[in-house]
Every structure is written in structure tokens, then in C-alpha cells.
């Protein structure tokens, strides 16, 4: 069952061909055997998982099963899980047993899913390769010498390797879509405000959004059904009806207007990635869609704007880690300043410190207007680019990342690393939804097609992605490691 989709698993559970306990045990066994190599989990909660599976089986026996009852999954270690370590990939929270559940965690539990544990990630979601984790890098299941992408690299790798059928990720500048692309799975970043951020450790509050990572668009729809919706505890969550995201999956694509942003096919795009994407576009044309070029003129300003806004918000969001109420505290502080400075210097890794320093500097007196205010003005222009484009076309398509997964340890320079997110970051600034679907390979390494829609167009994105997956089998490919361990 390890290579099946949620839809298939739910069918098997409903038919009684397997119980949630059996499935959970099977997957826990795989994690046990395989994750030493992959390092995709920070915490495996075997006991809780088995008891949740038993509970799910019981519910099913009582005739109270929902579409996700008994389905195993994993949760990025950025979501608070009561009674379970919630590290956010940081030494700072290595000792933090969360005293409450994130809203999405409660919702998934209420839906009857079985969490197998917490997945590895770049520290505080800052990174594009998963090399910034206190718990060590995650390996890409397709090629153990490659990165899985980041920051939701653990979630992506675990799904790709057949350790779980789905996982929860978060996306601040591409952290769901880029690892999904690198690991050959499907990952959806919903519209900002569609999914509650309560209990999701904040990196950059105006950009962060949780979402599903799975083996198919249909599975992402099932999960989004469970986690989307207004939350009274999150002022930025949107009070808007949650449709059934699986309802429109089968709608035909005839007449669909696809825009290809000129700026997403320019310099720096790996030719093998470009050719996979161009091939994918042809599939859509064969399904009756029309394609035209559009322009998002402010694209090149997205990374600069992001590296003002995100570090600024992060520098403030991460001030609460001060060694007083939770988290790492240095030994024998000589005074209060020493307590703060050493606890934080010891608890945070390099990339986190770098971003805190940038954010602190750009917000400080005399720099605010030139940096922060300017970046917010540019943010409006970037959002307007998308709104204008969606006047003309239904969806935008392009690569999720300029290259396939790169080698572990290959990118040491932060600026080059940041440029990895060139096609994903603007989407967070604009707040629109985006999905990455498997669309071919560059050698051994997967290529992801990114599909973008206007605010709250998740159902449309899932429909478009699903139709692509009906016409192609890229999403059904499994890495060798997954099969060896079957």
C-alpha cells in the first residue's frame, strides 16, 4: 500500500482489505528501515499513531468513518502538536513539547487521520534545500546525493519515498512547491488566509501558508477539504465558504486559457527543465486548452522584496525565543543580557541568524522607508501583475524551480540559494494559490510544473492538475529506494 494514493487507501480501508493499524504498522516499519538514509522525520510517534489507527478502525467499525478516517500522514515539524516535540528544525526548540495543537492538526485529527510523526525541515522554514536543519539534511529519495528542496523537504521526501501517502507542509516563498517539484510529488500552497496559521510556528506572518503535499492533485483536494476554513483564532484567516475541492476535479479543460509568463522562461532556466515544462504545456493543449504568453513585469523584484519583508517579520517573530518561557536557555547566564544573547546565539543556526540580522537592520531607524516601505510598495505592484494577468487567462503555468534538485552541499552562497525561489516567491507576495505537479525528469531528478490561479481558485488549480495527471503518469513514478523497500 505504500505507493498508493489517499484515494486508493481510503478505498481499501472502506473495503476492509486492510485496517488502519496494519497500514500504520507497515509504514512505521518502512520509516524504521528507510529513514536512517533519508532523515525525513525528526520525531516518529509510533505509539500515538497506533492508538490513533485503532481509534480510526473502531470508528469505521461503528460506521462513523469519513473520507480520511484511518489515513496515515506526517506533519511538518513547524505545526504545534500537543504532547509531542515541535522543534521547527531548530536547536532552539529541541526541548519544546508543544502544550497545544495547531488548528490544522486538530482538524486532521478530527477527520480521523493518523499522524506518524513530525517531518524534518529547514530551521524555522528558512531555506530551499533542507540543509539548514539542526537535525541534519534530508536526502532526496530519487538521488541520495541531491537535496529534497526546502523548507518542507522532510514532508516531500517522506511522501516520495512511500513512508506516508501525504504530509502537511508550509510555504512562505516556495517551501511546499519547490520540494514537491524536487521530489516528484504534488504540493499545493493555498491562497493566503485559506488555511489557519494558528499553531504554525511563524516565520514571515504575511507570507506563511500551510498546505497539503501528496501523490496526486486529488489527494491534495481531499486534504484541503479537511484543513481549509476560517479559524476564529487567526485574524488573517478568511471567512469564506470552503467548497468541496474534489467536486470539480473531473471538469474538462476545453476552453481553458493558460498564460505562460515570459519572465518564467528566461535566463537561468535549466534547458532540461524548460523542455519538460514545454512538453507538459503541449499536453494541456491536447486537452483543449489555449496557451498564450503573458507578462509579469515586476518578477525580478520579487526576490529583493521578499528578502526585506520576510526577514523583517522573522526578526520580530523570533524575538519570543528568549530562554524565559520555553525553548533553549544557555547555562549559567551572568545577567539578563547574557541570558538573551547566549540563549539565542546557541539556539539559532546560521541562516536564521543571518535573516534576523537583515530584518533587524532593515527595520532600524533611518532604513525603514528605503527598505520595508519600499518593499511593501513593490509587493503591491507584484500582486497587481498577477491580477492583471488573471484578467486575460485562467491559470498561469511555468516551472516550479529553475533547476532540478541540486547536489547536497553544492550551494553554499546564500544569494544563489535565494535565487532558487525565483518562480515561487512572487506567489506568496501576491497571496495567490499555486500547485506543483510532477512533469518529467532531468536525468534521475524530477521536474515540477507550477500552476497558478487567482485568489481562492484552488478548486480550479486542482481540476487542472488532476486532468494533467489523468493524461500523464509522472505522478505515478516512484523512486527506486521506495520499490527496493517494498
Amino acid at each position: 500500500m505504500h505507493d498508493k494514493t489517499i484515494t486508493e487507501i481510503a478505498g481499501a480501508l472502506a473495503a476492509g482489505t486492510i485496517s488502519s493499524r496494519e497500514l500504520t504498522q507497515d509504514l512505521l516499519g518502512r520509516i524504521d528501515r528507510m529513514d536512517g538514509q533519508l532523515n525525513s522525520f525528526i520525531t516518529v510517534t509510533a505509539e500515538q499513531a497506533l492508538s490513533a489507527a485503532d481509534h480510526a478502525d473502531q470508528q469505521r467499525a461503528n460506521g462513523q468513518a469519513g473520507p480520511l478516517t484511518g489515513v496515515p500522514l506526517a506533519i511538518k515539524d513547524i505545526f504545534c502538536t500537543q504532547g509531542v516535540k515541535t522543534s521547527c528544525g531548530s536547536k532552539m526548540l529541541d526541548n519544546f513539547i508543544a502544550p497545544y495543537d495547531a488548528t490544522v492538526v486538530s482538524k486532521l485529527r478530527a477527520a480521523g487521520t493518523v499522524s506518524l510523526g513530525k517531518t524534518n525541515m529547514d530551521e524555522f522554514a528558512m531555506g530551499s534545500s533542507n540543509e539548514n536543519s539542526f537535525y541534519g539534511p534530508v536526502k532526496n529519495p530519487w538521488d541520495l546525493t541531491a537535496v529534497p528542496g526546502g523548507s518542507s523537504g522532510g514532508s516531500a521526501a517522506a511522501v516520495a519515498a512511500g513512508l506516508v501517502p501525504a504530509a502537511l507542509g508550509t510555504d512562505t516563498g516556495g517551501s511546499i512547491r519547490q520540494p514537491a517539484a524536487f521530489c516528484g510529488i504534488t504540493g499545493l500552497k493555498p491562497t493566503y488566509g485559506r488555511v489557519s496559521r494558528y499553531g504554525m510556528v511563524a516565520y514571515a506572518s504575511s507570507l506563511d501558508q500551510g498546505g497539503p503535499m501528496a501523490r496526486s492533485a486529488a489527494d491534495c483536494g481531499l486534504l484541503l477539504n479537511a484543513i481549509a476554513g476560517h479559524d476564529a483564532r487567526d485574524s488573517t484567516s478568511v471567512a469564506r465558504v470552503v467548497p468541496d475541492y474534489t467536486e470539480e476535479l473531473d471538469a474538462p479543460l476545453a476552453g481553458l486559457k493558460i498564460g505562460l509568463p515570459r519572465e518564467y522562461f528566461g535566463d537561468g532556466l535549466d534547458p532540461s527543465v524548460e523542455s519538460a515544462i514545454r512538453d507538459a504545456i503541449k499536453v494541456f493543449e491536447s486537452l483543449g486548452a489555449s496557451v498564450r504568453e503573458v507578462s509579469l513585469p515586476h518578477t525580478s523584484y520579487a526576490i529583493p522584496a521578499y528578502y526585506v519583508i520576510a526577514p523583517a517579520e522573522a526578526s520580530s517573530n523570533l524575538s519570543r525565543y528568549d530562554g524565559v518561557r520555553f525553548g533553549h536557555r544557555c547555562d549559567n547566564p551572568s545577567d539578563l543580557i547574557d541570558l538573551y544573547k547566549r540563549s539565542r546565539a546557541e539556539g539559532f543556526g546560521d541562516e536564521v541568524k543571518r535573516r534576523i540580522l537583515i530584518g533587524t537592520h532593515t527595520l532600524s531607524e533611518g532604513f525603514f522607508d528605503a527598505y520595508y516601505k519600499k518593499a511593501q510598495q513593490v509587493r503591491r505592484l507584484i500582486r497587481q501583475d498577477f491580477l492583471d494577468a488573471f484578467e486575460e487567462v485562467d491559470v498561469l503555468m511555468g516551472p516550479a524551480a529553475p533547476t532540478p534538485a541540486f547536489d547536497l552541499g553544492a550551494t553554499k552562497d546564500p544569494v544563489s540559494m535565494y535565487l532558487q525561489d525565483i518562480y515561487t516567491i512572487a506567489i506568496n507576495l501576491a497571496g495567490i494559490p499555486g500547485i506543483s505537479v510532477p512533469a518529467g525528469f532531468s536525468g534521475k531528478r524530477p521536474v515540477g510544473l507550477q500552476i497558478l490561479g487567482t485568489h481562492f481558485a484552488e478548486a480550479r488549480l486542482l481540476n487542472v492538475a488532476h486532468q494533467f495527471q489523468q493524461a500523464t503518469d509522472w505522478h505515478l513514478r516512484r523512486p527506486e529506494i521506495a520499490e527496493e523497500n517494498a
Binding site: 502544550p99 540580522l357 500582486r383
Partner: protein, 95 residues
């Protein structure tokens, strides 16, 4: 806006990060290059463009004034480094 070594140290102090001179030098180069990249923003004319703080043009919802939380001190203090008599302890604060 070339960043100075002293500015890195100042930011580190404001952010309460213990940073040696050497550490600051290490960060200085990276942060300079990041800010150089960021400086591209200055080439864009944004006169009359309103800053966008949130991607959605939504306004704040308000909560009814009701006490919904009960005392969970012991529960929350389980993850605290040092507590006594229900208080969080820190090195003496001199006022």
C-alpha cells in the same frame, strides 16, 4: 547603502544575538551581498504606490469580549526552563 561592520554588531545587539567580532565579519560579507540584491528595489519608481501589508484586502475581525481561557499555568510551565512559585525566573533585572 554599503553595510558597515558596526551596523552588523548593532543589529546583533538589538536582536540580542551574541556575536563576536569575527562572527560579524563572517556575516558582513553575506549580508552585504544580500542587501546589494535588495537594492534593486531602488531602481523602481513607486511614487504614489500604497504599501501592501497583507496580500488580501481584508479588515480585522473582532472578538466578543468574553473570558474563554481557564488557568493552565502548570500545563504551560512544563516547557519553561526555570519557574518558582508560579513565576518565570530570570537573572535579576536592575531597574
Amino acid at each position: 547603502m554599503a553595510l558597515e561592520h558596526a551596523e552588523v554588531l548593532r543589529a546583533a545587539h538589538l536582536a540580542r544575538l551574541d556575536l563576536s567580532d569575527n562572527d560579524a565579519t563572517k556575516y558582513l560579507d553575506d549580508i552585504r551581498r544580500i542587501l546589494d540584491m535588495v537594492d534593486q528595489l531602488q531602481t523602481l519608481d513607486t511614487t504614489d504606490v500604497a504599501p501592501l501589508a497583507h496580500p488580501m484586502d481584508a479588515t480585522q475581525r473582532l472578538r466578543a469580549d468574553e473570558v474563554t481561557e481557564k488557568d493552565q499555568r502548570d500545563h504551560y510551565q512544563q516547557c519553561a526552563p526555570q519557574v518558582e512559585n508560579g513565576l518565570y525566573l530570570v537573572p535579576r533585572v536592575v531597574e
